[in-house]
């Protein structure tokens, strides 16, 4: 709903702008029609990018929620004193000897996926700035869907259980899934300018959590039919999503070439550079970060001002150049540590609550969503405030600094559900919020900052670099946390988190 309030807010600004713009006064009626169209484009981009990333996440969640089922399918029945008959029914699958081994293998799959995902983010960010992002996203979604289908359904139906086969499929899946983030952030960055980006992208970052919820609901509703149907349903919906993206997504306002409207909307759009063929009248707007310069020709007789405008597609920036943009490397490194902490919380919080406080698993699952929700709220609120201030770093650094004592506090949290949930939400707000902000809004800011001269396009590349580095951090965390926890206990995990957060605070 907030989206629509925002769009209303936006349209009010547009209308205001329109009324004060004397050049366009004579085409009022036409403008009104065009304006609703632009809003519809923006709403569509918001919805499409939101749900395509949510569906990616639903597919990931599907895997994590069927883990115990797949572990049971891959192993023979655990030996009791009496051997059960018939043998085929209870002992015929022997990919692993015990469910423990199967779960360890699933942990390896998770890590392999994360590493492939991190590599893929760099690659796909680079590719994203060079090809049609709509096609790239649709292909990424489609191939992910096929891979998940092969992993979950084909292997099960043909009874082909093979460790290496599963590992290869899951690594390729990581590479294909990484098309998602750089592309959707770039599309959002293209359509929503810096002044509204913080709050909108903060809100929009909830797509991952919404995807997790969609995935969990889908899985729980079909898991009784067999784990393969959990994969079937999520992958089929992802496939249909890829078709919808193919038929609906407009990656950039430049594609609809509403040149005379672009002039109006430049406050809200970012990475656009428009050149006209010949200039008799020049209009300059300088209230955007990217400072696009619009030169437009207004014909006197005809009130249809769309012609005579030529929008040129900018060229793309090299990978190295994108890395060297100011702020990219510091934020990427900071995000690596932050995502380590954030993802570890995602994956380990329910287990931690269950393990350390002996809460029931279902209770732990439910309460741990507080972290997620607080992250969305934190990201949106701080995003809104940073929009107003016009600066994001000034908001993020205090958040990270405050998160260190709160982590310490949380590690001494008493075995009380209310106190624990409140502290958990505080950390979610600070760490999850900052992570959401960096991965989306800051990436978009950095990808279209004023240092990007000429026609270079770097939005997807920069997003890929930042999130890719972050994912490496998350992968390291996935490897490190279980070892720390079993070897040194939970406090050591929290110390690791605090060290990571301090590192990134220094980095900012």
């Amino acid at each position: 709903m907030c989206v629509f309030i925002n769009l209303l807010h936006l349209s009010y600004h547009l209308w205001h702008l329109l009324l004060t713009n004397k050049i366009l006064q004579n085409s009022n009626k036409k403008m009104r029609i065009r304006l609703t169209r632009v809003e519809s484009h923006k709403a569509a981009v918001f919805v499409l990018t939101f749900f395509s990333y949510a569906l990616f996440h639903a597919n990931r969640k599907a895997f994590s929620n069927v883990k115990s089922s797949t572990a049971a399918v891959w192993t023979p029945h655990n030996l009791t004193d009496r051997r059960l008959q018939p043998e085929d029914l209870w002992y015929s699958h022997d990919l692993f000897a015990t469910e423990d081994d199967a779960e360890k293998f699933e942990g390896v799959l998770d890590t392999a996926f994360m590493l492939a995902y991190a590599v893929g983010l760099f690659l796909n960010g680079y590719i994203g700035d060079r090809v049609n992002m709509r096609i790239l996203l649709a292909v990424g979604m489609g191939s992910t869907s096929v891979l998940v289908f092969v992993f979950g359904c084909i292997a099960e139906w043909t009874l082909f259980y093979n460790k290496y086969f599963y590992a290869v499929i899951w690594i390729v899946n990581g590479l294909m899934q990484s098309t998602g983030w750089p592309v959707v952030v770039a599309c959002m960055g293209n359509w929503f300018g810096q002044s509204s980006r913080g709050v909108l992208l903060g809100l929009w970052s909830s797509c991952a959590s919404v995807g997790n919820i969609i995935g969990a609901l889908l899985v729980s509703s079909v898991l009784s039919y067999g784990y393969q149907y959990a994969f079937l349903v999520t992958s089929a919906i992802l496939l249909s999503g890829s078709f919808i993206v193919l038929f609906g997504l407009i990656p950039s306002p430049i594609d609809v070439a509403l040149a005379y409207l672009l002039n109006l909307l430049l406050t809200y759009f970012c990475c656009l550079k428009i050149k006209s063929v010949d200039n008799t009248n020049t209009l300059q707007r300088s209230d955007t970060v990217s400072q696009p310069i619009v030169k437009q020709n207004y014909p006197s007789e005809d009130d249809d001002v769309t012609y005579d405008i030529q929008a040129t597609r900018p060229t793309s920036m090299s990978f190295l150049k994108a890395c060297l943009l100011p702020g990219v490397i510091p934020y990427a490194l900071a995000y690596a540590f932050l995502k380590l902490v954030n993802y570890s919380f995602f994956f380990w919080l329910p287990f931690y609550l269950h393990n350390a406080f002996k809460w029931e698993e279902s209770v732990a699952d439910q309460l741990s969503t507080a972290y997620d929700v607080a992250g969305i709220v934190g990201g949106t609120v701080v995003g809104f405030m940073s929009d107003r201030l016009g600066k994001r770093t000034i908001m993020i650094v205090p958040m990270l600094i405050f998160s260190i004592p709160s982590l310490l506090l949380y590690s001494y949290s008493p075995n009380d559900r209310l106190v624990n949930t409140v502290l958990m939400s505080l950390i979610g707000c600070l760490i999850g919020g900052a992570a959401n902000l960096i991965s989306a809004a800051v990436s978009a800011d950095l990808g279209c900052q004023k240092q990007i001269q000429g026609d270079d396009r770097a939005l997807a590349t920069v997003t890929g670099i930042i999130d890719g580095t972050g994912s490496f951090g998350a992968a390291l965390g996935q490897i490190a946390v279980p070892y720390l926890q079993t070897g040194l206990g939970w406090p050591s995990v929290f110390y690791l988190f605090m060290i990571c957060v301090s590192f990134q605070s220094c980095n900012e």
Binding site: H77, L89, H93, G248, I309
Partner: protein
């Protein structure tokens, strides 16, 4: 044939009835011509080849034969047979193979497909390697006599009564159901089924299926596929109409 009582073919009162009667007539004649032996060969039912073994021991007055006749079944060669009138169902209730020069292999392969045995006599044969699985899925054995050198199979609770002091045989009475006599717990979604002498199986409960009985019900693939495809097409059309229709491939003048 089963349809005949439902359709009264003497009263040809409607087109449909007449048509059905013609169909019925065709079905009856073809079934008779295609399987003539079924209609003609009414004398003896086909019995398993185990019943045709050549044995020295006289079949009359054996325990198997006495019990068989007293329950109103027929003795056919070495077997006690309970069959329906048209021999569509032929159950082997008892089998007497005393002194038949039979080996364990002949017995084990010959008994495949028979699971209604109640009376079995096997003494007088060299069957030292016979074991409980050779009896396959016979779960209602009331009387089993074995050569003297063999013991009743399974543990003590597998039989109601065991007699060892007979001069020629070891006799096992009343096979018991291990699901009831032993404390068997099957995994989730499965239940204990008596599968043979001292043998149980854990089979899936009703509605459950698949490896380890983990799956329940059948996923409605067709409704899901149709529903998803149709909604995808509609959403695609909607987005194309409201969005990509406006995309200009080249920015040419109007």
């Amino acid at each position: 044939m089963g349809l005949a009582p439902l359709i009264n073919c003497s009263r040809k009162n409607s087109q449909l009835m007449r048509f059905l009667c013609v169909l019925l007539w065709i079905a009856q004649t073809t079934s008779q011509t295609l399987s003539p032996d079924k209609a003609m060969n009414k004398a003896t039912p086909e019995v398993p080849h185990l019943c045709n073994l050549d044995c020295r021991f006289d079949i009359n007055k054996t325990h198997v034969a006495e019990n068989c006749l007293s329950h109103g079944f027929d003795m056919i060669k070495r077997c006690c047979i309970d069959s329906t009138e048209d021999f569509s169902v032929v159950d082997v209730i008892g089998i007497d193979l005393q002194e038949c020069n039979m080996t364990q292999e002949i017995f084990s392969t010959g008994i495949i497909g028979i699971n209604t045995l109640q009376y079995i006599s096997l003494e007088g044969n060299d069957l030292s390697s016979l074991n409980k699985t050779d009896f396959h899925r016979n779960t209602g054995i009331l009387y089993l006599s074995l050569p003297k050198n063999l013991q009743c199979f399974g543990n003590q609770s597998a039989w109601g009564k065991v007699v060892y002091d007979n001069p020629t045989a070891t006799i096992c009475y009343n096979e018991s159901n291990p699901c009831q006599t032993e404390n068997v717990t099957c995994p989730d979604n499965s239940h204990c089924v008596h599968a043979g002498i001292d043998l149980i199986e854990c089979l899936c409960d009703e509605d459950y299926h698949g490896y380890k009985c983990m799956n329940k019900g059948k996923f409605p693939v067709t409704p899901f596929a149709i529903g998803l495809s149709i909604s995808t097409v509609f959403v695609c059309i909607f987005f194309w109409f409201t969005q990509r229709r406006y995309v200009k491939t080249s920015n040419k003048n109007k």
